[in-house]
Amino acid sequence: MTVPSSHGPSIEQPAIEFDHASFRLNGRPLLQDLVLSVKPGETVVLLGRSGSGKTTTLKLINRLLLPTTGDVRVNGRRTAEWDPIRLRRSIGYVIQDGGLFPHFTVERNIAVVPRIENWPQARVEARVRELLATVGLSEDLASRYPSQLSGGQRQRVGVARALAADPPILILDEAFGALDPITRSQMQKEFRALQRRMRKAVVFVTHDLREALLLADRIALLEEGRLIEDLPVAEFSGSRNPLVRAYVEAFSGP
């Protein structure tokens, strides 16, 4: 698809661009004047507490929400101008605990988008096998239902499902939040390795600074609907911003 073969960071058009985007719900501002862009191949982690506007930011990308003021552009086009169905099918979405369809087998869950896009059956099957391997799942699991999987396996299926139609953009909302620490750490490492190969534009939401430091190229810290800091990962921990300091101290441990 539109994944570029070379990565000239300066001239590339951003995959996702927030241009003074705000979102209000019943007059209450959930996100205020966000300016942020994500280039192809880049992983931006949105870090923040509950209610900081992280999930709202994600939903503005795939047009589950439209900005009240300002613009959100995906591949240079305002989300309001996109056909929402086409837009969403070009964005992989992973949520906590997978959000899998409980009445579909693993195989059918992964194949949801290819099927609604009317891929030929043989291609769908080949793609499902390929993705099971990509996310480190045995083919024996293909015919199982989500309720028969462990939390880690469900999360892997969730990632495979998001990647199914090879979307150029991937957004993840607390994707590994429901996992035990060991599985979580393993998934984070695998995801990082996967992202190095795929070079998609990734927006990853978390409240966990360690996860952010591990996965991000850039970290954007949100607080009460405002962007507090947007820094390359190497510079983030050194920031003097008091909120960043508070975060770093909270995670530095006893």
Binding site: N62, L64, P84, I85, R86, L87, R88, R89, I91, Y93, I95, D97, G99, L100, F101, P102, H103, F104, V112, V113, I116, Y145, P146, S147, Q148, R161
Partner: protein, 214 residues
């Protein structure tokens, strides 16, 4: 003459009335499902309608059945034939469980699953047909089961307006003060209701556990 002898001597009539009874209750439930299930879906999409629709169906249920037959009598075409009248009245009674269960079934689908579907680019129609209705199917079939059992029971009253069915025996037995005749209507009607309850209950459990196989 005891109950079994009565049944044997009148078996042709018992059979005819049973078939008539099945037709009345079956057609009424089918009609109610054709209206009630789409209506239940509609009120999940247009929430402002949910209160008036559910309230309306509730009010219908509170009308005494004989009175409802009476209300419908002046209706054109419907009122001309007792069978039509009975089917319409039964269908109206069956509406509430169908609307309510369809609505409740769809509303009970995990919002995270629905949102995941929407975020993946499923259209409203795909979301409804591939996700919401399959996941709600157990609860919807429970509504069909209740509607069917209620219709089979209420259909005995249809005999009061000459629409036939097993109620004929019951009303005749009441007039004759003859328990055997009453039982000849009541027992097959009860058996029908139990059978419908069992068959639909089995289907309901199967659908309910669709995704819980282990």
């Amino acid at each position: 003459m005891n109950f079994f002898q009565f049944m044997m001597t009148n078996r042709q009539q018992v059979l005819d009335l049973t078939l008539e009874h099945i037709t009345l209750a079956g057609v009424a439930t089918l009609l109610a499902a054709l209206v009630g299930i789409p209506l239940g879906i509609l009120i999940t999409r247009v929430p402002q309608l949910s209160k008036p629709v559910l309230g309306g169906a509730n009010i219908i249920q509170t009308i005494p059945s004989l009175a409802l037959f009476g209300f419908l009598l002046p209706a054109p075409w419907i009122g001309e034939r007792a069978g039509r009248l009975a089917i319409l009245a039964l269908a109206l009674y069956a509406l509430l469980p169908l609307i309510r269960n369809t609505y409740a079934g769809i509303r009970s689908v995990d919002p995270a699953v629905v949102e995941a579907g929407r975020a993946m680019g499923l259209t409203d129609r795909q979301l409804l047909l591939q996700v919401e209705l399959p996941l709600a199917s157990g609860v919807i079939v429970a509504g069909v089961r209740i509607a069917t059992v209620v219709s089979i029971g209420l259909a005995t009253i249809a005999a009061a307006i000459g629409a036939g069915g097993l109620g004929e025996f019951i009303f005749r037995g009441l007039a004759m003060v003859n328990d055997q005749v009453i039982l000849a209507g009541a027992v097959p009607a009860a058996l029908l209701a139990l059978l419908a309850d069992f068959v639909l209950g089995t289907l309901e459990r199967r659908l309910g556990s669709l995704h819980l196989k282990s």
